[in-house]
């Protein structure tokens, strides 16, 4: 998304250096903002979907961990948390959850 914002800024700079009718310039700017916003919305929808799937998988994984009767309850809980973190970090590779948790605790 940051790259998209940079590209949009570059488009503005390049557009200013081109001589063209004002209505065409405005039309291009409107198209650009439409595209950027659409990309942003689509990315957000995709991220939400992935997060929902990851949470669902994490819940299943937690259930499976709960069925491990051979280990202590504390160990089961720790294992379940690790599995949840791994799955959710996979869909949020840009900012892993364990970093976020550490930051929020700090």
């Amino acid at each position: 998304m940051a790259e998209l914002a940079d590209d949009e800024h570059k488009l503005h700079v390049r557009l200013n250096s081109i001589a063209l009718p004002e209505h065409l310039r405005q039309s291009i700017l409107t198209s650009a903002i439409t595209l950027v916003n659409q990309a942003d919305k689509s990315a957000a929808i995709l991220a939400n979907d992935l997060e929902r799937h990851a949470l669902s998988e994490a819940a299943i994984c937690r259930d499976q961990c709960e069925e491990l009767h051979d280990i202590q309850p504390q160990e089961r809980a720790a294992l379940a948390r690790q599995c949840e973190t791994l799955l959710l970090d996979l869909v949020h590779s840009a900012q892993p959850l364990h970093e976020l948790k550490a930051r929020s605790i700090g």
Partner: protein, 204 residues
């Protein structure tokens, strides 16, 4: 070769006694300057002024012509000098007229250019306003949609309460809020900070 109108005028001038010529209104110029006689059309007033100028620059006003005149006589020489001066004066008036026409033309050209520039600026401003309005509408729709997505995301996270550990869910909600803030700021090219505690309290 003289023009027919001039010939007619000369004939008229010759038929009119000098006293009658001199008695023509000399204040026409003043009237033109002061804008008196508003009911008289402007073109007619100009014609009157032109006629007055012609009469006043006529050498016959100084020395009226005679039927018989010796070229070496004092009157003939004075008449010749008056004619030269009259021609010179008429030429000066003609030059002044041309200069005035040139200045008026320049003023009109500049006024036309300014009007064209003003019209172009107004048109460009209108186009820009329309563009900004369209973009603001797009931005507004995007903001509404992003807010709706954010609320759905919070609800989705909350729906897993009890099935996934609470720390993970709280961390996910905080991340969702951070991303929502960043996305909104990026869309509106602003730098707004939302109150996390206030927003998160709504759902927790």
């Amino acid at each position: 070769m003289s023009k027919p109108s001039q010939t007619k005028e000369d004939r008229q001038d010759a038929s009119v006694p000098p006293i009658a010529v001199l008695s023509l209104p000399d204040h026409t110029l003043d009237q033109l300057r002061m804008g008196i006689e508003d009911n008289v059309p402007y073109g007619e007033r100009i014609e009157k002024v032109s006629a007055e100028l012609r009469l006043r620059s006529d050498p016959d006003r100084v020395i009226p012509g005679k039927a018989v005149e010796f070229p070496w006589s004092r009157e003939a020489r004075a008449r010749s000098k008056a004619r030269d001066l009259s021609i010179e004066a008429r030429l000066d008036v003609f030059k002044d007229d041309l200069r005035a026409i040139r200045i008026a033309n320049e003023v009109l050209n500049r006024a036309a250019t300014m009007r064209a520039v003003e019209a172009a600026e107004a048109a460009i401003f209108e186009i820009r306003c329309l563009g900004e309005t369209a973009r603001f509408a797009i931005l507004n729709r995007t903001h509404l949609e992003m807010t709706r997505q954010f609320l759905e995301q919070l609800e989705s996270i909350e729906s897993f309460r009890g099935r996934v550990s609470n720390e993970i869910l709280d961390a996910l909600k905080e991340r969702a809020l951070n991303e929502f803030t960043a996305r909104m700021n990026r869309a509106s090219k602003a730098d707004v900070e939302f109150s996390k505690s206030e927003i998160l309290r709504l759902k927790s």
